[in-house]
Amino acid sequence: MRYAETGINLEIDLSTGNIERVVSDPKDTELYLGGLGTNAKILWDRVPPEVEPFSEDNLLIFSAGLLCGTPATGCNRTIVSTISPQTQLMAFSMMGGFWAPELKYAGYDKVVLRGKSPDLVYLWIKDDKVEIRDASHLAGKGATETAELLRQELGEPRAQVAAIGLAGESRVFFASIEQGRSSASRGGIGAVMGDKRVKAIVVRGTKDINVARPDEFLGLCDEVLEYIKWRAANPIKGVMPILAGLGSPQEMAIHDEKWHTENFMWGNSRVRRKGFWTEEIEKQWTETMEGARTRLISCYNCPMKCGATISMSGLPTYMMKCFSKLTYTMAAMSDLDFGLRIAQRATEYGVDGFSAPQVMAFALELYDNGILTDEDMPGLPEGNEERFYWLLDRIVRREGIGDVLADGTYWAAKKIGNGADAYAHNNIKKHEQLPLKLSMLNPIYFLMYSTGEKINITQIEGQFPQAPFPTREEREEFVKDWFQVPDDRFKQYFLDWELRGENSIPYYPTPQMCCDIVDWQERMHYIDDALGMCAGLSSFPLKPPYHIHNYPKFITAGAGIEMDEEALTQAARRYRTLVRAINIRRGMRRKDEKPPENHWKKRFPELEKELLDTYYKFKGWNEDGIPTKETLDELGLDYVAEEFVERGILKEDEGAESGETAAE
């Protein structure tokens, strides 16, 4: 019997309509766990670098994590992987909600889509019954609207729906896949779904998911629940409210937006508005939010209720979570009422709440500076807010200038020319980032931004505090019950970290310490993405209920795979390296690994070079960021090494002399 997983992947060829159930190899589960890990294995094996994102040969994989569908609290992530049209690299966006467990209950771990359907279709998966059905009547419909219509049409109120809106159908490079209160937004995976002409995947399952050691597993779940309760009563001291608790940042519940509105940039990530958060604004925004929010809502099997249903007068109800609360507001230099209104339309269209506002602000900045003109934008309204609606409507239809902007700021700037490049200033690896511009280089963040292949900083950071605490007493207090650290040396790093003086940024933590810290933070995210765990209960917040010490037990008791910290760390390294290998094979190199030029005012080129050199070495990558043969062999990825040599990416003898990979 397979435990935690079903052992079956659905392989659907959209070109031919062929549907197969394929039994997965339990060996692969041991090596790559599941979710992101096994997705990476499939993409490495089956999508060579010559395959374009919008090609029949590109795969779009919807995967439940290894522990989704078990009683593990908060384990509900769907990991969607493909080749991104925007970055041309591997995209692996995640979504919470209810879809992944439902897929498990239907009897599948993954849905692997290949080919392209000739007409718009949706997939209906109900236990053993799998159908490709006509979706012509859903063309142009909103993502939330589509989900409702499909539940009604099928007479299945309990079915879960992952759908694209118009943006996905139009192959907008930052189109999302929406699923009620959740969405998989980064990397333009909605565009790939649209390219395959799949409007939605509807799932309903009524089968069992087994765990290997029932009592042990439930005991572990109970511990997690107890800890969540304890943390609710004992928030972390010395950090701002959104960092003090568990869950995704509680943007729907918390009204105090001083920190975001005064520290994040407005417009096209340009303007910092110190002193913005006045009493008057606070009152107005609180009223807006209270008036809009009907209820705080959770994902599957989780008490944290990080999302909310939002009803703005005169508009259909939709669901929201996290920072998309503010992205439209801040890009348009407007207020919360505007932000919540336009987000309704944007959610139905299905666009990434980080990229879309930035693309629009970018376009208007180009217009203000005469690079885009009235000729490019005939009919552009006068009012600022109207302009955002106008642009959004055109982008998702690829109409006029919208067609150019639909490729995101990087590619749009290339097409527009005339110096537009300088305005696409907030990208990493061709993808829009959070609107943050800071003063002093932070060496930990430098490494995370540079080497992250998850493209989004919130999917890389976590665990280690973002900044030092002012006094030693506060730091001592913090490390007292910090049992989540993999090793006590992390406590020491933090204890010695000062706001000023010798032990402060950018030279402290030292490059070697930074490597250690970044590697830990990244590792936890990669483990989450294989298991299907919400980062909000694990890799993202400080002192989470899931950590490197209890995860191996969950895997052993849940999936029946003997696991300890070392083996888990090794597995995570293995598929993390495989993700890098996929991207290296697609041409990613050291030159691509850098934060936006203006992310920090004070930069330190020599230190930055040293950081990257040290980190590459630590990871077992050569000076160009390519995993060495030695590293690959040690991880059992010799098939990668072989192909690297064949393709001339590595030389036969390379890596032998590159020395030790830094100790764990």
Binding site: G69, P71, P157, K229, T294, R295, C302, T317
Partner: protein
Amino acid sequence: MAEKKKKTKIVKRIHVDADKCNGCRACEVVCSAFHAAPKYSSNNPARSRIRVITHPLKDIYLPVYAGEYTPAECLGRNTYTLDGKEYDECAFCRASCPSRDDFKEPDSGLPLKCDMCESEPDLDEPMCVKWCLVDALTYEEVEVEVDEDEDEVRIEDVELGLESLVDKYGLDKVLDTIARLSKKD
């Protein structure tokens, strides 16, 4: 007529505060896991004895407990509007009923009924309550006086189970099976 002797018994009560429900379905997960054999060895919300009816866009969040089995569906049905929200037909009904899939084992179709987590030794509180951290479900035990001669063996429960089997498989099949089973002993 001689006065009936009074004694007290404990009534278990779960209070549902639907306003606090966030739709997470943790209650369904743990109920189905608890009733798996062996205990916790599997879970499957479709087997749960509590069902959370959700319709987020209409702000409907309604945990409903499985009650009695009924062989025939009601002729007259109810729909409700509460606080301006329209609830589907049968939404509040606890019956395991031929008209719907709820409260039935998905494979055999046998009826499910909330047993308040019958267990030896007794649980401190029902599993669904324990796992509902947001207090949409809370548990209390209240002492009430009852008549002495109130039947202790709940023969109706046995009858009910049989009845449902008869409905599903026909009387002959059930009688055959019982005959076969008793021969085995």
